[in-house]
């Protein structure tokens, strides 16, 4: 859905109301929320040690790098993928949509003059906003403690590109998972599909390691997939690994993928509702 369509369907006060209510809902379970937010940082520590051990054990070819990454860059990369994923990960989105289809809650969106995807997008934005507010402190602290892994701040243009790539990674993550959730219109149980997706996502988004490390055909395939924009791409942009024309292309492609998944989610919803109305309800 384009911004224009969204604005037409949801005037500003509606945006605000949905956001406000989603924010309030998010804040109901304080304990769970705080734990979920803070625990996100735990794997960070293990990764820093893991890469330390890898660099030490494997050794480097004398240049001090593995596949073009120094230990410093690797840790910096990993820290930055945490930021990417703070934007692109959509915990529970696909499974909730599938569940709502299965238990009939989806009816609500068929009888009320409201757009399911727009509504869910606003809800997700609210969730993210709350998360950023709460996680900003811990994130700042972690980055401050790890400041030696970075070579200072990138230039303004790179920062703008970084922010743009993050915003698009949020939209891509949202529409991709929403599309997956709506597969539930055809297969009531989608947990296995989601498991496979999470697995691919973990490896090929660059969450586990920088995907430009992958050689040959695999590297080409992975670099052609939309998953790289969910973790790798924003981090690589920040680190200055992608610049100039390559950066413009990358951002353009990321935007194109967002558009593809906006359309795909719309089409899936359209045909899904058709099927639901024909067979189920």
């Amino acid at each position: 859905m384009t911004t224009h369509q969204l604005t037409r369907r949801f005037p500003l006060t509606t945006w605000w109301t949905v956001l406000r209510i989603s924010l309030e809902e998010r804040l109901v379970y304080r304990g769970d929320f705080a734990l979920g937010t803070l625990m996100r940082f735990l794997p960070l520590v293990t990764q820093v040690f893991l890469w330390g051990a890898i660099f030490e054990a494997v050794g480097t070819d004398g240049s001090g790098t593995i596949a073009g990454y120094t230990y410093q860059e690797m840790v910096a990369y990993y820290l930055l993928t945490q930021v990417s994923r703070a934007f692109s990960s959509m915990p529970g989105l696909a499974s909730t949509i599938a569940l709502q289809i299965r238990n009939g809650e989806i009816k609500k969106y068929l009888i009320q003059p409201v757009d399911l995807l727009g509504f869910l997008l606003l809800g997700r934005m609210a969730h993210k906003l709350v998360y950023y507010v709460v996680a900003a402190g811990p994130f700042a602290l972690v980055f401050f403690l790890c400041r030696d892994f970075f070579n200072g701040w990138p230039d303004l243009l790179t920062m703008v590109a970084f922010v743009a790539s993050l915003v698009m990674s949020f939209l891509l993550g949202f529409f991709l998972e929403a599309t997956l959730g709506m597969v539930g219109f055809w297969f009531l149980e989608v947990s296995s599909l989601l498991f496979v997706y999470m697995l691919f996502n973990f490896f090929f988004s660059g969450h586990m390691f920088p995907i430009d490390m992958l050689p040959g055909v695999w590297g080409t395939i992975v670099r052609g997939s939309p998953l790289q924009y969910l973790a790798y791409f924003p981090a690589a942009v920040f680190l200055g690994k992608i610049q100039g024309e390559q950066l413009a292309w990358g951002l353009g492609l990321e935007f194109a993928w967002v558009v593809v998944f906006v359309i795909l989610s719309r089409v899936t919803f359209h045909f899904g509702v058709k099927r639901y109305s024909a067979y189920g309800g």
Partner: protein, 343 residues
């Protein structure tokens, strides 16, 4: 002019049939057998604006399916329907702003938040002007006496309180047509009564058209002049509640009280003895011979007290349902019971 017009509306579902056992489950991975179930079989109905119509019928009769069709949640297999001039399953916003559907305890409220937050959201979704919203909300909240519960999370409300909040949420945008699916299901007697009173009062003042389904005869008796009985996806009766007995019951109940503690013999020749507890006897007697039977009884026996009544409505309807089920089963035998294989 009718506000709801239905012609030949039919809906069939395809339901997966699984045999018992693990082997059948494994076989189901490769080949599945489905059965077509006709939930609604070509019904015709016209409802005038401002009517309060009850849909009665046993479980699986097609009541809820009809409401789902009329609210546009599902598409029909055949037939047409127009509600306020709209075809429901086109799901146009212009239509969706003019009706509401409340399905039992299915939630349109946000579970973890107080109901007033959901009301605010409805205000936005239905674009209700702020002053109108506040007026409507206050009116409904006071009518249902739930003002003190507005700031309590929905999950901490009782079932009756939750139903009241669901009704408020559904009525905020002043729908012209309301579809209610078992609004009193699972509620205690007091809560049922409260909901009934509210619905009666609200419908009378707003002149809203209401179609509702219920299993509780008390709901129907309290609210509706018109009753539509559906069984096996077909309309079996459409008329007043009282008319059901005239049309479907061929009997009346005669209650006799005899002097002393013993009962006379041979009463069964006048009709079926339903209850026998000295000094009282209850007989079920054919409507056509009620006068003769009563005259004969009074001529032959000394009777202290006598009353003639219609059989209980529930009993008549239950008989009618089982008759309808039997008829439909025998009519459909050999047609739909044949499983249709689909890969």
């Amino acid at each position: 002019m009718a506000i709801i017009e239905i012609e030949g509306l039919a809906k069939s579902y395809r339901i997966y049939q699984k045999q018992e056992g693990l082997l059948a489950s494994v076989r189901g991975l490769f080949h599945r057998t489905y059965r077509d179930v006709q939930a609604v079989r070509g019904i015709d109905l016209a409802v005038e604006s401002g009517e309060f119509v009850a849909f009665l019928g046993p479980n699986g009769a097609g009541k809820t399916t009809t409401l789902k069709l009329l609210s546009g949640v599902i598409n029909p297999t055949h037939g047409t329907a127009r509600v306020m001039g709209h075809v429901p399953w086109r799901r146009e916003n212009a239509y969706r702003r003019r009706f509401a559907l409340v399905m039992g305890q299915k939630n349109q409220l946000w579970w973890d938040l107080p109901a007033q937050e959901s009301f605010r959201l409805h205000q936005q979704i239905y674009a209700i002007p702020p002053d109108q919203f506040l007026r409507r909300r206050d009116e409904l909240v006071d009518l249902l006496t739930v003002r003190h519960l507005l700031s309590q999370p929905v999950r901490e409300l009782s079932m009756g309180e939750r139903m009241k909040m669901e009704l408020i949420a559904a009525l905020l945008h002043s729908p012209e047509v309301l579809f209610l699916d078992e609004p009193t299901i699972g509620l205690d007697v007091v809560a049922q009564h409260n909901i009934q009173s509210f619905l009666r009062h609200y419908q009378q003042t707003s002149k809203m058209t209401v179609l509702f389904t219920s299993h509780y005869m008390k709901d129907v008796a309290a609210l509706c002049r018109r009753v539509v009985i559906i069984a096996q996806g077909q309309i079996m009766y459409d008329g007043s509640l009282g008319g059901i007995i005239d049309r479907f019951s061929g009997h009346k109940m005669i209650t006799l009280v005899f002097p002393g503690d013993s009962l006379p013999q041979g009463l069964s020749r006048f009709g079926e003895v339903v209850e026998e507890q000295a000094p009282k006897v209850k007989l079920r007697v054919d409507r056509n011979v009620i006068a003769e039977s009563l005259a004969a009884i009074l001529a032959q026996h000394t009777v202290q007290d006598v009353s003639v009544e219609d059989p209980p409505l529930e009993e008549v309807i239950a008989e009618m349902f089982s008759l309808a089920n039997e008829q439909a089963r025998s009519a459909q035998a050999g047609l739909e019971e044949v499983p249709s294989p689909h890969a």
